[in-house]
Every structure is written in structure tokens, then in C-alpha cells.
């Protein structure tokens, strides 16, 4: 993961310099609050010796400056840090997009991957802003403070360093592992809860109608109860890091008072420095917290980043984009189809779609209908046999994505050079009456399932097509909507080669020929 983060850092203009600046500013902010306490303690101790007021002026200016500088440094640091994090995220997003666009996604059931990757990529922001910068700057401040105090008293500053390592490194590390153990115990129950909730959400009416709701809810409540008790049992490790910070500060303060007191008695330490020695650890204690928070975030972002790396390192499958073919015919002859590197899903397959013909491709789930479509689109080569494919394929997917932009732009995905007239015509043929400039996805402007399918159809119809491939055009639509949609689909497909992948017997019945895969 370090390699990936460093790569991203180098991809940002002056990335390393920006990172150094953000870390320096963060350290300066934390150092300001430590210095505020230390110099204040000196000021008051010095004042107790009743010197001429002039002698206090420099310290007073210092105290006021540190009072202002903490906030100011912090503000600039956050801006620099977030800007860097956003730049790195942009690079990572661009790379991820590039990678994914070059691997075939059609028909590979990767919807889950696509929704997760967006979240995972965002983890790089946390890694920079919440992990790297705070942890590095906190280390700098603790080291700097130790060195400063060592000039007055070495022993006391060493105790401070040790307490910082205890509270900042050892205990957070242990607490993190203990929390992970607690979280791991609940993984199975969390999975069961998610499955049960999904079942209850999707099959709720069926469970109620059959009087099975009580039992299903009861099972789910048992899981919930186990989860609650696990979380409550695990609660004890969560506050350990917090407690350790207070305790470490205590050790440092008590040790400073004891060692410092003896040093004063021995004449090794000016009495007015004792307060500095004792009060500084109190302020430093707040800095320790940065470590604990960074450790927590680190675990989370690490998992996300490793998922991103998996995507970036994966070998591309197929061509990604559908490239227009050379020929005009649509034919598979004695073809063996399957995903590259996978087992063949169909062997010795013969399939012809003649001009003006409507062919239904049917068969049980998982038999490779979409794989056949991907082969006909030229996304993947046949593993054996011959494929002739038409130049311009229009593919209507059951899960065609509707982009959050205008209706016209959505249609133009199918033909970026289409005029407004062509777009309007495609919409009309798809049976959709929407203003071209209506933006979809904004408040109140959502489309029903049937309308979405029709918009996707318009996209297919807006360009010249040699072959239409309709992938489960009626799936998930209610019966009336599906019937109305298919009427318009058949009208629009008149005279074209059409291949329909379907489970729906009424759709298959409307075709000229049915090819059954088994």
C-alpha cells in the first residue's frame, strides 16, 4: 500500500513538497499549544520572582503569539492537507476509471464492485489527512518537545518520551488489535443480520401472507440480541486507549515533579523551570490522541486501499469498449464461447440471425446467454470456432444505466453526433414523451422502471444498427408495463436483426425462432 500511496503522491505536482508542508504546519499547530503551556508556565514562575516587568515582555508576546498561531497553523494545514488528499484522490480515480474502462464489464455481474470501488477510492483521503499527516506531525512534536526539555533535565524528558511511546504507540496498537478481535467475533452475526434483513425487506409480504413473519422476525431478533451482547462485551476495550493517554500524562507529570524537585534541590535546575517541566506534559497529552485516532482510521482505509489495488492489478478481460465489427452477417459457427481464462460455457454452438429476423435465446440461468451476446458484440473472442459479427450493435441491457444528466445527453450516449431531431425521433419511437432538456436525478425528476427501460431503448435506436441485442428486456417490469414496452420494441426493431435474451415466454413467443441453450 505504501508503494501505491507514494506513486499517487509523486503523480501530484510537487506532491512531496505539499505533503511536507502540510506535516510541518500540523506539527507547528500542535507545537504551538505545547509551547503556549510551557512558556506560560515560565512566565508565571518568573513573575513569582518579582522581576522588573520588562523581563516578562518577551515571554508575554510569545504566549500571545502561540495563542494565535495554533488556530492559524491548523487552518492552513487543513487546507493544504485536504487539497493534497483531493489531488491524490483525483489521480487514483482517474487510474481506476482508466483500468475499469479497459476491461469488459458487460455481462460479468460486477455491479457490486462498481458501487464499492467509489467508496474504496475515497479512503486515500483518510489515509493522507487522518493517518499520515497527524501521525507524522505528532511524532515530530513529541520528539521536539523531548529535545527541548532535555536541555533542562534529561531524565524527566526521557520519561516523557517513554510515556508518549506507551500512550501513542503501544496502547493504541494493542487496543486496535483487541477491537479488531471483538469486531471479528461479530462478523458472522453481522452477515446473518444483513441476510435476514434483506430477506425480511424483500419477502416481507410473502412471510406475512403465510404466517411465517413471526418466526422470521424471531430468528432475526435472536441475531440482534447476540450482536448487542457482543458489542456490549466488547465495549471494555474501546476506552482503554483513552485511559492510557490520561495515565501516561499522569506518569510524565508525577515523574517531572519528582525528578525536577530533586534537581532543584541539587541545584541542577532553576526553580522557575520546574513549572515548565511539569506543565508541558499536560499539554502534550492532547497530541497523543492523534495517534489513537490515526490507528483506528488506518485499519479501515488499509482494507479499502487493498481492494482498490486488487482492481488496479487485475488483468483486463476482453476489449472493454464494444468495437464495431467489419462484417454484415451475424453468425456463430461451431463456436465455443466462454470468458477468457474461464471454462467454456457453450460448445459447438451454431447461431444465425438473418436480416429482419427476430431470434430468442432462451435457457436456464447461468447457461451462458449473456456470454454468447458478449461474443457477438466482439467483447471477447470465441474460444474455438468461427464468429461473424455485424458492424454496429445496439445492446439493450436489463440494467442499463441512466446518467444524472439531461434526457438528450442520455440518448446521445448511443450516438454522440445525433441532432436534436434525431434524439427526439428516437424518444418517440421508444414511446417516451419527455422534454429533451429535463435533467434526470434531480429532486422530483426520477423515472419509473418502464421509463428507464424506454430511455435506454431510445439510446439504442438513435444510431444506425445492424444488430439489436435485447438482454431480458422485460425483467423486473410489471406485466402491463412490460407488454406495452415490448409492443414498441417490436415496432422499432422492424426490419432489423434482433437477438432477444429472455426468460419471458411471451417475449420468446413473439420471435420468429427460439434457440434454446442447455
Amino acid at each position: 500500500m505504501r508503494k501505491l500511496v507514494l506513486e499517487l503522491l509523486d503523480a501530484v505536482p510537487k506532491g512531496r513538497a505539499r505533503f511536507a508542508l502540510a506535516t510541518f504546519l500540523a506539527a507547528a499547530a500542535s507545537a504551538s499549544s505545547v509551547a503556549l503551556m510551557g512558556v506560560s508556565a515560565w512566565l508565571i514562575s518568573r513573575a513569582a520572582e518579582f522581576p522588573p516587568v520588562l523581563y516578562l515582555q518577551v515571554a508575554a508576546v510569545g504566549v500571545r503569539t502561540f495563542g494565535i498561531s495554533r488556530g492559524a497553523f491548523r487552518y492552513v494545514e487543513r487546507l493544504v492537507g485536504h487539497d493534497l488528499a483531493l489531488r491524490m484522490q483525483s489521480v487514483l480515480r482517474s487510474r481506476t476509471y482508466d483500468k475499469l474502462s479497459r476491461t469488459t464489464l458487460i455481462g460479468r455481474r460486477q455491479g457490486d464492485l462498481l458501487t464499492r470501488i467509489v467508496q474504496d477510492v475515497a479512503a486515500v483521503q483518510d489515509l493522507v489527512v487522518r493517518v499520515a499527516i497527524p501521525a507524522l506531525s505528532a511524532s515530530l512534536v513529541i520528539l521536539g518537545t523531548t529535545v527541548m526539555l532535555a536541555r533542562f533535565n534529561v531524565a524527566s524528558s526521557l520519561v516523557l518520551l517513554l510515556s508518549a511511546i506507551l500512550a501513542g504507540v503501544l496502547v493504541p496498537w494493542w487496543a486496535q488489535r483487541a477491537s479488531l478481535r471483538v469486531d471479528r467475533e461479530s462478523v458472522a452475526d453481522r452477515g446473518a443480520l444483513a441476510d435476514g434483513a434483506r430477506e425480511l425487506a424483500l419477502a416481507g409480504p410473502d412471510l406475512l401472507a403465510n404466517g411465517a413473519d413471526g418466526a422470521a422476525l424471531g430468528r432475526l431478533l435472536e441475531v440482534d440480541d447476540r450482536l448487542r451482547r457482543q458489542e456490549q462485551r466488547g465495549a471494555w476495550v474501546r476506552g482503554v486507549a483513552t485511559a492510557a493517554q490520561i495515565l501516561a500524562a499522569g506518569i510524565a507529570v508525577v515523574a517531572a515533579l519528582w525528578i525536577g524537585g530533586n534537581a532543584v534541590a541539587a541545584g541542577d535546575l532553576g526553580p522557575r523551570l520546574l513549572a515548565v517541566l511539569v506543565l508541558t506534559p499536560l499539554a502534550l497529552h492532547e497530541v497523543f490522541q492523534d495517534f489513537a485516532k490515526a490507528a483506528q482510521t488506518f485499519t479501515r482505509s488499509q482494507a479499502a486501499m487493498s481492494r482498490v489495488r486488487e482492481v488496479l492489478d487485475a488483468d483486463p478481460v476482453g476489449t472493454g469498449d464494444v468495437e464495431p465489427g467489419e462484417g454484415v452477417a451475424v453468425q456463430l459457427a461451431d463456436a465455443t464461447v466462454g470468458w477468457p481464462g474461464g471454462a467454456p460455457v457453450q460448445e459447438g454452438l451454431d447461431l444465425i440471425v438473418a436480416p429482419g429476423e427476430k431470434v430468442a435465446l432462451v435457457g436456464p440461468s447461468g447457461v451462458g446467454k449473456t456470454t454468447v451476446a458478449a461474443t457477438l458484440m466482439g467483447l471477447i473472442p470465441p474460444l474455438a470456432g468461427e464468429v461473424e459479427r455485424a458492424g454496429r450493435v445496439g445492446y439493450l441491457a436489463q440494467d442499463a444505466h441512466i446518467f444524472a444528466t439531461s434526457v438528450a445527453e442520455n440518448v446521445r450516449i448511443g450516438n454522440k453526433d445525433a441532432t436534436d431531431e434525431q434524439v427526439a425521433d428516437a424518444l418517440r419511437r421508444a414511446g417516451l414523451d419527455l422534454p429533451l432538456d429535463r435533467v434526470i436525478g434531480e429532486a422530483g425528476s426520477t423515472l419509473s422502471g418502464g421509463e428507464r427501460r424506454r430511455l435506454a431503448l431510445a439510446r439504442v435506436l438513435v444510431g444506425e444498427r445492424d444488430l439489436l441485442i435485447l438482454d431480458e428486456p422485460t425483467e423486473h417490469l410489471d406485466h402491463d408495463t412490460a407488454a406495452a414496452l415490448m409492443r414498441d420494441v417490436w415496432a422499432a426493431a422492424e426490419g432489423l436483426r434482433t437477438l432477444v435474451i429472455t426468460h419471458d415466454e411471451s417475449v420468446a413467443a413473439a420471435c420468429d425462432r427460439v434457440v434454446e441453450l442447455r
Binding site: M37, A60, S94, G204, P271, H503
Partner: protein, 536 residues
């Protein structure tokens, strides 16, 4: 913003109230310990300063100081422990209520995806609310007052500086929030749209690939990223100002206290002990308030999670009563009107229909006319806004719905299935059915797959048509096991005419009455009566 404490969470989740009380007690104890700690440190340092070595009885002093830190650590741990336990209890309570609410109104209310999100991950945002925000709120409500009060007793000018600055923090936060709200909202909306653009493109990648547009869009991604960063930085530049004000006020006020008390010490207006004591206490008065500001974000997420849960809970009225359902008599819709929550459009208005015992009634009509809604009402999943649905003259609102549903077999247009096998799903409606009976019911329903076929999440492995056949087999079996009414939504959609005939025959043979939404001529022909419902 609704205020520092979520009102519904406070009123309705018992663990929240108990925890708030506990956190105030912890806060008071913490304040006492902080004061004790400051007193011991100031005493140790000034005494050593005065006599040039550790004072008499120093072991006791150091031990006491160590003890105070130990107690504070223990208290900090206790606070975390209590807050995590409360979070777990509240999450559990809300999960239970949300799930029960969904079963009370299983159609039309919350979308299933939002329900799943809330129950699984959404409520986890309450962890941050309870474990980070509320404990600091408890401390902020107690420590500044007790510490500030003591400083007032010891040295009123310092207390005056603190008392002047401390209330300024929330006031400034609110003022900055107000003045920047408009700008923030506008740029936030822009940033949000640009942020979603990337997610939108990624989700649409397969679609872009189908039209050979995916690779070309990379330039669009880069361009969008540039604009997204610009817009986000604009938002952040403004929104970080409030924390700048917070930090500035807190540390500047400590600085002013330190400098002022230092000079007053020189002029003999205050003694060394008091000066040091106040210096140690001053930052402690600000710390919890600053922490509340830091964790404000956690509170927003947590409150949003609680709101989402309560919205589902409150949107689910408990319909139905306690009377056992009559075991005979007609099902009647008496002038029923209904509009889905949040919409004005009525899907049903003045709807009348009767299904007499033994009668098969087909309901036919245009799409979106509320036919499926009527069936959901017959099942008691929804309650009418107007009119009533009755069984043998008794309103469903008075009936024990479980006893009514026990007499009904139901097939939804998109049936949900539970994980297991096809047989498990058929058996849901008739637990004591034999394997042979299940196989026969599946054959009648037109299933070309065996009872042993496994079903994963959300009916994965079966198409929508196949799912409907499983549900139909279940309904047919249920009728054999004593149900007296079939409620079917497009039961033969996607079946060829031979299989359709088999299903119709099975329905007619059962002798049960039936309410069937269908447009298929064969079904309409086989019904005793066809009701055309044109919609509203």
C-alpha cells in the same frame, strides 16, 4: 440542526436518557478530579519553588497526584464503556422497531434497499454519536461550569476572561454558520453534484462500454475531477473557518489569562499558587467545548441515522385489531380510497368490489390503476385512507390480521423468496406438506425445475417468472391446507396457454374463492365475474 441532543432519540430510546444522566455524573466527577489534580500540581510546584526542594510529605503528594490521574483514567474508561454499551442497546432497540415497523407496513413505505442499509450499516453511525459526541457533551455541560466557578472564587479577573470567551464559542459558531450558510450550501451542492458524477460514470461503465464510449469518457473524468477539487476546496475554505474561530478563541483566551495573571503576580495582586492553579485549570475549561466542536460531525451522522430509523418506525401505523377473523362470508371493498404517503395522486378512489364465498372474481384494467394496491389492502398490508375493507361485514381494521391471513393464499406480482430450496419456499405456506404434494404443486404451477433447486439471496438463481411459479405452487398448496381465499396478482404471466389452463383448473378445483388481477383472456373467461377497474 435540531439542537445538541436528538429529541426523538432522547424521548424514545431509554438507554439514551440513562446514558445522558450517567455522562453528567461522570462530568461532575471529572471536574472534581481535574480541580484536585491542578491543586496538587500547583501546590507541589510552588512549595518546591519556595523551599528549593521537594516539600515535606512529598511522597504523599506524589502518590495523591498519581491516584488522581489513575482515577481520571478509570473515569475516562468508564465513560467510554458506558457510551458503547448504550450505543449497542439503542441500536438494538431501533433495529427491532424498524424491522417490526416494516412488517406492519410491508409495501409502499420504506424502500427495501434503505431498510437494509439502515438495519445493517446505517445505525452504526450511532456509535460515533454515542462514543464520541455525547460523552464530550456531558463533559461540556459540567466541567466548564465547575472549573470556571472555582476560578471565579479564586481569581475573578481570570474567571471574567474565561466567562467572556467561553459563551462566545457557540455564539461565533452559530454566527459563522449563518453567514456562510448560503455560500456553503451553494458550493456544497455543486461539489456534491460533481462528486456524484464520478460515481455515476463508474456505475454506468457497462452502459458506456456497450456504446464504445467508456475510454473516451476518461477525459471527462479528469475534467470533472479538476472542477470537483475546486468546488470542494471552496466549501472547505469556508467551513473550516468555524473551527478556526473555535481554536482561536480557546487558545487566545488561555493566553490572555496566562499573561494577565503573570503581570498581576508581579504586582502582588495574586499569589504564585493561585496563578499556577488558574493556568492549569484554564485550558481544561475549554477542552470539552473544543472536543464537542471536533466531534460535531459524528453527531450529524448519528442523528441522521436515528432520523432515518424513526421515519420508518413512525410511517408504520399498526393496522388491524384483535378480533379473530370470521371463517366465512364475503370479502368486500366499500368505497375505498388510497394515495401512497408523500404523493397526492390517488391510486384508488371509491373502489367497490365483493368476492362472495366460492366465487372467482377477476380484476382487470389499465396499468397503474391501483389493482395491486387493492390486493395489498385485502391482505391487510395497507389500510385504506377512505372507506373500508371488510370480511363478513367486519372491518379488517378490527381483525387480528394473522387470523385473517391464515385463511388466505397470496401470490404477489414479484414474489419474495427466502433462502433455502424451492421446497422450503413452498412449505412456507403449508408446513406439513409432503415431498410428493410439493412436487405436484410445482408441476401444476408450471415449474420446470425441481423442489431441490437452491435459492440464494433475493431469489437469486430464479427468474421473475420462475419465482412467480414457486409462489403460485405455495398458494395452491396452502389452499389444500385450509385457506379459503386466493389473492393472485398476474399468476399466469409468462406461462404458455397449456400451463395457464392447468393453473386455472387448479384454482377452480380448489373450490376456494379467488380475487385475481389478470388481463389474460383465458383467466378472465374462467372467472365467475370480471370487474373492469379503469383507475381513478
Amino acid at each position: 440542526m435540531t439542537g445538541p441532543i436528538h429529541p426523538r432519540l432522547f424521548r424514545r430510546a431509554r438507554a439514551t436518557r440513562r446514558y445522558l444522566l450517567a455522562s453528567v455524573l461522570v462530568g461532575i466527577l471529572t471536574a472534581v478530579l481535574i480541580i484536585l489534580q491542578a491543586w496538587l500540581i500547583a501546590d507541589g510546584v510552588t512549595a518546591t519553588f519556595a523551599v528549593g526542594r521537594l516539600p515535606q510529605g512529598w511522597p504523599v503528594l506524589l502518590l495523591a497526584l498519581g491516584g488522581v490521574f489513575l482515577a481520571r483514567a478509570g473515569l475516562g474508561w468508564l465513560n467510554s464503556w458506558l457510551s458503547h454499551r448504550s450505543a449497542a442497546a439503542v441500536k438494538s432497540q431501533l433495529r427491532r422497531d424498524v424491522l417490526a415497523a416494516h412488517l406492519a407496513t410491508p409495501v409502499g413505505a420504506a424502500s427495501s434497499s434503505s431498510l437494509i442499509r439502515i438495519v445493517t450499516r446505517g445505525l452504526d453511525d450511532l456509535d460515533g454519536y454515542f462514543s464520541k459526541y455525547l460523552p464530550q457533551l456531558g463533559l461540556a455541560a459540567t466541567v466548564p461550569f465547575l472549573v470556571g466557578g472555582l476560578v471565579l472564587l479564586l481569581d475573578w479577573p481570570s474567571a471574567f476572561i474565561i466567562a467572556f470567551t467561553l459563551p462566545l464559542i457557540p455564539i461565533f459558531m452559530v454566527l459563522i454558520g449563518w453567514t456562510t450558510e448560503k455560500a456553503t450550501k451553494r458550493s456544497f451542492a455543486v461539489a456534491d453534484r460533481l462528486a456524484n458524477h464520478f460515481a455515476d460514470l463508474i456505475a454506468g461503465l457497462p452502459t458506456l462500454q456497450a456504446f464504445a464510449r467508456a475510454r473516451a469518457q476518461k477525459r471527462g473524468v479528469d475534467l470533472n475531477e479538476e472542477r470537483y477539487r475546486g468546488a470542494t476546496m471552496k466549501v472547505l475554505t469556508v467551513s473550516f473557518i468555524s473551527s478556526l474561530a473555535l481554536e482561536l478563541l480557546a487558545s487566545l483566551s488561555v493566553a490572555v489569562v496566562a499573561v494577565t495573571i503573570g503581570f498581576r503576580l508581579v504586582y502582588g495582586q495574586v499569589d504564585f499558587f493561585t496563578a499556577l492553579f488558574v493556568l492549569i485549570l484554564a485550558p481544561e475549561a475549554f477542552l470539552p467545548v473544543r472536543q464537542v466542536g471536533t466531534h460535531f460531525h459524528d453527531s450529524v451522522d448519528g442523528m441522521a441515522a436515528a432520523d432515518a430509523a424513526f421515519d420508518i418506525i413512525d410511517a408504520a401505523p399498526s393496522h388491524g385489531g384483535t378480533r379473530p377473523a370470521p371463517t366465512g362470508g364475503a370479502l368486500r371493498f366499500e368505497g375505498v380510497g388510497y394515495a401512497y404517503p408523500g404523493t397526492d395522486r390517488r391510486v384508488l378512489d371509491g373502489f367497490r368490489l365483493e368476492v362472495a364465498p366460492g366465487e372467482v372474481v377477476a380484476l382487470s384494467g389499465a396499468s397503474g390503476g391501483g389493482k395491486s394496491t387493492a390486493l395489498a389492502m385485502a391482505m391487510g398490508f395497507l389500510a385504506p385512507d377512505e372507506g373500508r375493507v371488510t370480511v363478513d361485514g367486519v372491518s379488517l381494521a378490527e381483525l387480528d390480521l394473522a387470523s385473517w391471513r391464515a385463511q388466505v393464499a397470496y401470490v404477489a406480482q414479484n414474489p419474495g423468496l427466502v433462502r433455502g430450496t424451492v421446497a422450503d419456499n413452498v412449505r412456507l405456506g403449508a408446513p406439513d406438506a409432503t415431498d410428493e404434494e410439493i412436487a405436484a404443486a410445482l408441476a401444476t404451477a408450471g415449474a420446470d425445475f425441481g423442489p431441490g433447486k437452491p435459492i440464494a439471496d433475493d431469489g437469486e438463481g430464479l427468474s421473475a417468472g420462475e419465482r412467480r411459479r414457486v409462489a403460485l405452487a405455495r398458494a395452491l398448496r396452502r389452499i389444500r391446507h385450509g385457506a379459503r381465499l386466493l389473492v393472485l396478482d398476474e399468476p399466469t404471466a409468462g406461462l404458455d396457454s397449456d400451463r395457464e389452463a392447468l393453473v386455472i383448473a387448479a384454482v377452480r378445483d380448489s373450490g376456494a374463492s379467488a380475487l385475481i388481477v389478470s388481463h389474460r383472456p383465458a383467466v378472465l373467461a374462467a372467472a365467475d365475474r370480471v370487474v373492469e377497474w379503469a383507475g381513478v
